[in-house]
Amino acid sequence: MNELPEDKAARQPKDVEPYDRKKVNRRTFISSLTFLAGGTLAYFGWNKLYLSPKETTADATAGAHAPLRKVLDANGNVFENAVSPDHLARTYPKAMAAKQPRVNGDIGIQKELEDNWRLNVVKSNNETLQITIDDLRKLPKTEFAFEFKCVEGWSQISHWGGVKFSDFVKHYQLNEQAKLAYVGMHTPDEKYYVGIDTPSAMHPQTLLCYEVSGQPLSAKHGAPLRLIIPTKYGIKNLKRIGTIFFSNDRPRDYWAELGYDYFSGL
């Protein structure tokens, strides 16, 4: 038997009590009522959330239930701030990279590229740099193979080359602009647009990319210049960059306006 001191034994919940009809009825009533009330509350609570209106396009996002969006943004903050941006996506030997990396999506690149393509970099309201692909090729080149991850769930090791965004910022003396919270990018036709938090943009593996599998980008992969950002899902890896700008407000983001997480970080 228990060898607990008297007072301690008294505090132990008793496993068996003498039958007492009133007690049984009272405990059954209270717990059943709580159960039904909880179930009803859960049902209506869920319905309220499920049928809650979608957010309006006020803050660069749309399409998600407003209460959920709040948590998604909070999740972004948690993971954006909790972990050092120095963490590198794992890289692989070139030989492991897919020979023909998968192409998924052609929003913003459906029309043919115009001959006079330039990368527009908005330094300020009255100064926009116009940079050619040859200018970028002169900058130090970085290349690596990593596991590209699509928001749909598939992933594929592929090999990309280009200039680090941070090297690009340094070379074009954009340090002041890079102190703003976000980098915005869009295709020349402005049909696809992304917003990237600047720490992710300045991550050492974020590339302004002009090569895939050791060859110049094909049109479908976003020639002449695309973003490769291994710390984000593919939806942030904008093809055919037309314009880059900096802002403290969240730039518009194509998929975040369709209900996806704005941060979309990995």
Partner: protein
């Protein structure tokens, strides 16, 4: 003579009934996510036996083209699911309830006898306390599965930041397969659980709500004796 036999502490009843809708929401939102890339199938000798999931299933339950919605619900309710699970584990540890829940040395052998008994292949069931050997194994396993879902889920969610976790899970793709397989596991657990609850009867079921069973003296004696045995061993 009849007795009130206290069975499930209030905390465990709360954790149990909160987990039910939370897990249901996680599985449903997980399906919305899975649809966007659904390569898994059971194959035998190169022949597809079952594809996850057949077209009619997606149609019937309106799973298609809801990836963003699925992700939003999944990454909100993951917090509640995880916190409820962690609190449950902490409670069982500190309250001593783990004594009834963890498999004992004898459980592995006894679980087999329980199975034979449940299938009506054996007349007597092995002696049991609050939970029989099969239950101990099942209820402990499902917690390990929950931990597995949590870890593989985090690995898929932030594979760059939590690169070490991806490594532990055997890679990004493997983590996703495990995460999926565990979900199928919950569904199987659920089916068996429901069948067992129905077979065990009303007293057993309502004790998960009100916490106690009304039992005769003999039954009560057995439970008390065993409980004491376990407290002292």
């Amino acid at each position: 003579m009849k007795h009130i036999v206290n069975k499930h502490p209030l905390a465990i009843r709360w954790f149990h009934w909160l987990n039910f809708p939370l897990l249901a929401i996680m599985i449903w939102s997980g399906l919305l996510i899975y649809w966007a890339y659904d390569p898994y199938a059971i194959k035998l000798f190169g022949h597809t036996v079952f594809k996850f999931f057949p077209e009619w299933f997606y149609q019937k339950y309106h799973i298609k083209r809801r990836l963003a919605e699925g992700m939003a619900f999944h990454f909100v309710f993951m917090w509640l699911f995880a916190v409820n699970g962690l609190l449950y584990v902490l409670y069982t540890l500190f309250s001593g309830e783990w004594r009834y829940l963890l498999p004992k040395k004898s459980s592995w052998r006894e679980a087999w006898l329980v199975l034979l008994h449940d299938l009506h292949l054996r007349k007597t069931a092995p002696p049991q306390n609050k939970y029989n050997a099969a239950q101990r194994i099942a209820y402990s396993a499902v917690i390990v599965m929950g931990l597995g879902s949590l870890l593989t889920g985090l690995a898929i969610y932030k594979p760059v930041q939590l690169y070490w976790l991806v490594f532990v899970c055997g890679g990004y793709k493997t983590a996703r397969v495990i995460h999926f397989a565990l979900t199928i596991g919950y569904c199987l657990f659920f089916v068996i659980h429901i069948i067992q609850v129905i077979l065990a009867g009303w007293q057993n079921f309502i004790s998960m709500i009100r916490g106690f069973e009304v039992a005769d003296t003999d039954t009560a004696k057995i439970i008390v004796k065993r409980t004491d045995d376990e407290r002292t061993t």
